[in-house]
Symmetry: C2
Subunit: 323 residues, 2 copies
């Protein structure tokens, strides 16, 4: 089968990746909620990457990408551009491994995010808030310092790392019928789809995406990578678009993408905060909102099934809550 022979992205590659990053990551807890199970009519297993180091699954891919560098490359450090969770994750992964992290951030990034990066030892470089400015500055730093550029989602080593959360989920619940993930840049869902393909027992991977940033939904429809038309979403981690490394995996292995409204995202977020007593960020609530929506639209598909939901992160600005 072609899909099992994808170079550098085999079942063994993802297992090796998992072993490689284990000393640096948490095997995060899997929580359940009787009340949410009853509401949805399914058995749901929440993989709590909000408890991951640096507060999000991004730590997995960032760690794997750095560990795959040569010693010479490690000496010269790494560089990325991100205003979100990958900036903190790459900083902490680099600090844990003993590597310098250069982080390009838009000058509009909230102070709380910059504080996080600094706390984990990342060096911040500010630029205009455009894709061209960010990539330009990252390229310039790479050239000047010899640092290796690591993309937050469109990188094979990052994708493999992000897939390890689904492996941990499947190791504890081998008979999951579905895994629901949010889709932003596409790294998490591509990695999860590979993990489900290699280690699941006919486990289907479903994506959740805001209507307000539905590039992946439209990309699957058109068969090519589409841009976002709007990004007016509270799910700040999902404003980015797919890349050429993860899109082919998503096209081949993701069963369906379900779009949700802002009101559905906020309601799902509040449900988890109030009933499960855990802090999840809006992007994570998108996966649960998609499951709730699907259970309403196609009740027979979801009824009494075993469903994994990846809670991608818990980095929320407590002074800007939507409640």
């Amino acid at each position: 089968m072609e899909r099992l022979n994808r170079e550098n992205m085999t079942a063994l590659d993802i297992l090796n990746c998992h072993e490689r990053i284990k000393p640096y990551i948490h095997n995060t807890t899997i929580l359940t909620s009787r009340l949410i199970d009853k509401k949805i009519g399914a058995n749901i297993f929440f993989k709590c990457e909000n408890f991951q180091r640096a507060g999000a699954y991004k730590m997995r891919g960032a760690t794997n990408a750095i560990l795959q560098l040569t010693d010479e490359q490690k000496k010269n450090g790494v560089v990325t551009h991100s205003s979100g969770n990958f900036a903190q994750a790459l900083s902490l992964a680099a600090q844990s491994i003993g590597v310098t992290a250069h982080i390009v951030m838009p000058n509009t990034a909230p102070e709380v995010k910059k504080v996080g990066v600094r706390e984990y030892g990342g060096k911040i470089y500010e630029c205009e808030s455009t894709v061209v400015a960010r990539q330009g500055l990252a390229d310039e730093i790479a050239q000047r310092t010899g640092a290796t550029f690591i993309h937050p989602s469109n990188d094979e080593n990052v994708i493999l790392g992000q897939g390890t959360a689904a492996i941990e989920l499947l190791r504890e619940h081998a008979d999951l019928d579905f895994i629901f993930c949010p889709i932003g840049g596409g790294g998490l869902i591509a990695g999860s789809a590979l993990a489900a393909e290699f280690f699941g027992n006919n486990c289907k991977v479903m994506g959740g995406e805001p209507f307000e940033a539905d590039d992946a939904y439209r990309s699957l429809l058109s068969g090519k990578i589409e841009d976002n038309e709007t990004v007016n979403t509270i799910a700040d981690g999902l404003k980015t678009t797919l890349g050429d490394k993860n899109f082919p995996i998503i096209k081949e292995h993701v069963t369906k993408i379900i779009r949700v409204t802002e009101a559905e995202i906020i309601a799902a977020m509040r449900l988890v905060w109030e009933r499960m007593k855990i802090i999840i960020e809006p992007s994570s609530a998108v996966a649960l909102a998609a499951l709730i929506s699907e259970a309403e639209e196609n009740p027979k598909l979801i009824k009494d099934k075993k469903v994994g939901v990846i809670i991608s992160g818990g980095n929320v600005d407590l002074v800007k809550l939507p409640f």
Copy 2:
């Protein structure tokens, strides 16, 4: 030793209680945080009763109290007065066991609390917000229906039940040097103190209390139960006073009570929300605030020690946060 012979409150009684309630409660997870450990300079184990059924440790004592009733008593139901977590816990415990719960609540109780009680099948009776009115109505209901009155904290079966959280903590971490609890009505700390005495290895129990509701601190000083002088605290679960069943246990077995300011409570709460990504209520933050205060005042006492902190609950009104 006198303390091991306290009638109905022996090591075996608390173990039997634990076995009795196990089918009805969660053995809640114990979380750690490298960052908070580093900040305090100790190894801290958070017993997450915010993940307990009905969102608080109160489920333990409520369940034990109902299970200790005779079949005849169970038929006639139970009654309590509470505007807080015990109201929901007794309702859910009663529903789980198949018993009617009559709940007297002050007419000033927030709607969200009443919704919780109703959701768990409790019958609400409203009265004026005074101790006399509450107790009067509860007595009247007991007389009319034959229901057994169960006090939220000053009841031996409730105290034993609340002590089972500390047993679970000590089973996983037998060498804890300290357990920190909040003190409200005194049921949790009395039960925890018995558990530490019976099953700890020289494990000291320390109480946290708001300066704004410091009845337990002053009661230990004077040697008799003192009233609160003020209750202007965000820690709404800690406004009640000690009782004659739990005070003697606290006097004998609790090492120290540490008072904390409202600002310290809010800061501790925020630290846990932001760093551990879990939702804890202000009353729970009091225990951590007390530990932080003690680590600053007596660094040698706490430095490098193993410390259990009981996170008592996670029932927070999300539209009234102090951040």
